[in-house]
Symmetry: C2
Subunit: 484 residues, 2 copies
């Protein structure tokens, strides 16, 4: 091997010379022939990073506090809060928001980069474990030049690492600890050890995440480990006809005449469909009939309380929401809604039109800073057409006549605090959770109004109410300003 | 440059010779002096992959259908399904499960690997966009050897790519298309172009994902793009005392004597806390008192329907569940539950003990195959202690006396189909969604039983009921076998 070593040093000298050329004359390589380029692709040069490139910061980068949002021609949401309560309210809101951030896993919500030119192979995403169960980490490998000794290490925070059935002579330090080192004089053995590396979360949690730091020499990479408990599916048996698929929901208050007109109109085409009536009238009257469930609430308990009660009693996959003064027409076909929902399982709410009214809107929401809160406004626009359905458009909210997926709406709910005027509020709570479309031609009628004064006095609340409401949203939705 | 090229070829020859040596004598490098090793670390050898290492398959790997689970000493869940209905039921269940998989984004749930030794830098996770909004892709870069021309390309499926304000002379093909190519004779310019690369989802969706394929020469990597709509926070104002933090919920049926004993016992220490009573008695009696809300349901509507109704009416951050024949003792302190919840915001349910009974359990669940469904059994064990609270242990289900986070329980809900015997079923539906602990010493009393025959006949349903129930779970929870 002696002569060989001499020749080797000679080559090193030549290489250094080339090197110099490379830096002196940046275009040197480009002037060299393609043959050389293609040769270089198969050279056995190893994968160390080139000094030219500074080591990147690969994270984890936490999303910093978003910038404050501005209330374009809206009033700040706190303007109705009694001055003497504002400070306390602010403190409580800040604490609740802090808890909300923890619950929604904000601290795990980070940006991580993959650095270039590292000899490490590892799982980028999709490595999931169940809490406190030993699980093999897929895809770990080292691919590098020959070394006297190969040494890699892994670090985690919320669990422990271990290599399965380590044999005599395999070098593994830190079995069942947070920091594990593996070394070997054979790259193949090292990769074999990596293929037997497991992770076990050490604290119980049903939905969280850990980060693994994987290191070789001056290379370090990070990859996420998802820790969560499996959920059991919850399915609704749609049965064989519309009666086993849909329940009709009504909130009743005082207007029994209109309610009976509605019920009779439903029975014309749907003699057997279940109707749930949530009733908070001051002096409840009996509402009888087959497949009618009548729930009596404390007097004037409110509009959304009634909606939420009705939804809580549904046992079908879908429900149809109607107001007590609507009326089914010959062209009112519940099946048309169901067809759209079944065709696009991601949909949660399909809105129709009441007479000529096909009210629908878009919500423009900015998170804002965690101190001030967000900004939300409502604009009457839609997002985009629903592919395959010319007459349907994605929106954030629709009119009071819609078919909804029971399970999805239950997750959002109708806030029972909202006693009277309330509608958009449901869609605000559902933003990001409910996929909503509005469709032309799915029609129901509106009865002529014979509103009693008594009803009117409840339907149109005093100013004090809307002030309470603003205070409620200031806190509940963590808003800086609101307008709709 | 002529002489220089000649010397260069000479060197190439030497390098090939070395090469040969390397393959003939694998230990050659190890025998060379440390000086050479350290030199090699700073050599400008580029990052092409070494032929030794086969190109790995980096995915995306879809989780294949899990293996069927086995019913250890349990009966299959379909045994109670009437034979003539089984086939239809199976078909419908398969379709509902298919929709469920789509809704839960199973097709986006993939494993992706980071290959070693690629000159590409890119975001591994945390790159999130809102639907149809142009967003800069962070962290894209190429770090490689000198080339005559540098060429990278990106491909996406659910959106389009574009480089911001492209200047005269910058080579970008496929602006606003799914497939974009960038090339430059300067690495710096190429990386500058990459730093201006944006993604815009082209179809509207509130919760989905795209995959970007990033390529340079024979290197390809994949990274995920999360597409989702921002949600508005929903917070509860805890107010200043337990009355504004907690509502007590009771389901009443026939046993008004016990109910009144309970209510009076609550009023001893909690004169002002709100009590919600969901009542499906056959002949409802009035339940009156300050801060009592009495809801009258259709007769014998059922146990879970009542629970779900009560929860639907809560306006406080937490609720306390009690049965109508419980009784508050001097040592019954709602505040003790609240303290634990406030200390650990991730918690959703804190269970106490009824007399001496601190019933709690663990659920063992296997997904099973998508054809057959899962296997679930209940064992009376806990997971682990709750850090910081010696007397509390993580579990999957607890006794009928618990404090719960209103918003979290609403998301799971009590299935109103379950009319009588039902308790574990709620925790099955909540598996993976509700973080549950059971705590020693949080005590409430149980009244002596004076059960009427009538009550008993409802409380202990005929066998036909439990058969219906099994059929229900066979479908609803997509189960192959169930035992508890």
């Amino acid at each position: 091997m002696h002569g060989c070593r001499r020749t080797f040093f000679i080559v090193i000298l030549f290489m250094c010379f080339l090197f110099a050329l490379f830096y002196i004359d940046g275009d040197f390589w480009t002037k060299t022939s393609p043959r050389i380029m293609s040769f270089s692709r198969f050279s056995s040069c190893h994968s160390e990073q080139i000094p030219d490139f500074p080591k990147p910061n690969i994270g984890p980068f936490h999303n910093d506090n978003p910038t404050p949002c501005t209330c374009q021609n809206t009033q700040p949401a706190n303007q109705y809060v009694p001055k003497d309560e504002l400070e306390d309210l602010h403190k409580r809101r800040a604490e609740e928001f802090r808890q909300h951030q923890i619950r929604s896993g904000k601290e795990n919500d980070v940006l991580i980069l993959v650095p270039a030119n590292t000899p490490l192979q590892y799982p980028m995403r999709g490595f999931r474990v169940t809490p406190m169960n030993k699980t093999l980490i897929p895809g770990l490998a080292l691919q590098t030049q020959k070394r006297a000794v190969y040494k890699v290490s892994l670090r985690v925070q919320k669990g422990v690492l271990s290599v399965l059935n380590v044999q005599e002579g395999e070098k593994v330090d830190g079995q069942n600890e947070k920091h594990l080192n593996i070394s070997s004089s054979s790259l193949q053995q090292l990769n074999d050890l990596l293929s037997r590396l497991t992770y076990t979360s050490s604290s119980y949690h049903i939905k969280t995440e850990d980060l693994a730091y994987f290191t070789f020499e001056n290379h370090e990479v990070i990859f996420p480990i998802e820790i969560r408990r499996l959920s059991v599916p919850v399915l609704f048996d749609p049965g064989k006809d519309v009666n086993s698929q849909v329940t009709v929901l009504v909130k009743a208050f005082l207007r029994y005449k209109e309610l009976n007109v509605l019920i009779n109109s439903i029975r014309w085409n749907y003699p057997k469909i279940k109707i749930i009536v949530a009733d908070d009238s001051l002096n409840p009257e009996k509402v009888v009939g087959d497949n009618i469930e009548h729930y009596i609430m404390p007097p004037a308990q409110g509009w959304f309380a009634g909606r939420n009660l009705a939804v809580s009693q549904v046992t079908t996959k879908y429900f149809l929401w109607v107001d007590d003064d609507f009326v089914f027409l010959n062209e009112t076909h519940i099946e048309s809604f169901v067809k759209i929902m079944e065709a696009v399982p991601e949909l949660d709410v399909v809105g129709g039109q009441v007479g000529k009214n096909q009210f629908s809107f878009k919500l423009q929401y900015e998170e804002g800073s965690s101190e001030e809160g967000g900004c939300i406004t409502r604009v009457s626009r839609t997002h985009a057409p629903l592919p395959g359905f010319d007459s349907c458009f994605f929106a954030d909210g629709v009119v009071n006549y819609f078919l909804a997926r029971t399970e999805a709406v239950r997750r959002v709910g109708f806030d029972p605090v909202l006693k009277r005027v309330a509608h958009t509020e449901f869609f605000i709570d559902g933003l990001g959770d409910l996929l909503v479309v509005t469709c032309k031609g799915l029609k129901i009628g509106h009865q002529k109004h014979s509103t009693t004064n008594k009803y009117g006095s409840f339907r149109h609340p005093p100013k004090s109410d809307s002030q309470k409401k603003m205070t409620h949203h200031f806190f509940k939705n963590h808003l800086k300003c609101i307008k709709y």
